[in-house]
Symmetry: C2
Subunit: 117 residues, 2 copies
């Protein structure tokens, strides 16, 4: 558990893309900020829904049956098991929430290590 | 599960204070927006952490050992069991997340019914 969190200040601490940083915890979930740019990979999370809130920029979440496009102040929850591929043409800042230990790529072999900032 | 959610559009659908509205779900949690103004009540949630993100305005979360003051883009998680009292001098808009069924006042007898918008 951490103190009050200023999301913009946390985002200013790093520059790499698609590397979620933990800013606090909530009932066993990691609350994270991430900078997105370019296309991530198609993946799914068999055990958890995937929470996306756009703080800045524009995120397209490709789904097999259509795209979801989100601007600032817009959010979407990808249901567990649903394949998706996030894409950001410009650098986009996100708040995401996942149970601690969830691999960001859907696969522990390729997942980045999530560190706290 | 619902589609993409524009938080400002959801907040425009109602005017009452301290009455959380469910906008989507995430792993059995209700994701809600709420308009805060004035002082809520001192309470705690023995079974869950309490997630606050300020979207607009300014929220003071009074705690027994000091206050946390949050502006837009700032968040705080009140640990489970910790007494707190949210206060907003001006109308303040929040994103909050709690396990479905959590009473907003900490007490089912006085809790509001959370409806989806």
């Amino acid at each position: 558990m951490t103190g009050p969190v200023n999301l913009a200040s946390k985002l200013a601490l790093f520059s790499e893309h698609w590397s979620p940083k933990i800013v606090t915890g909530f009932n066993g979930n990691d609350v994270m900020v991430v900078k997105a740019k370019g296309e991530f990979n198609w993946h799914s999370h068999p055990e958890t829904d995937d929470f996306f809130l756009v703080l800045k920029g524009r995120l397209t979440i490709k789904l097999r049956d259509g795209d979801v496009v989100l601007g600032p102040g817009e959010m979407y929850v990808v249901p567990k098991g649903v394949e998706h591929c996030p894409v950001a043409e410009e650098e986009t800042h996100l708040l995401i929430i996942e149970p601690a230990g969830t691999p960001n790529t859907g696969d522990p072999a390729t997942a980045v290590t999530k560190v706290q900032v």
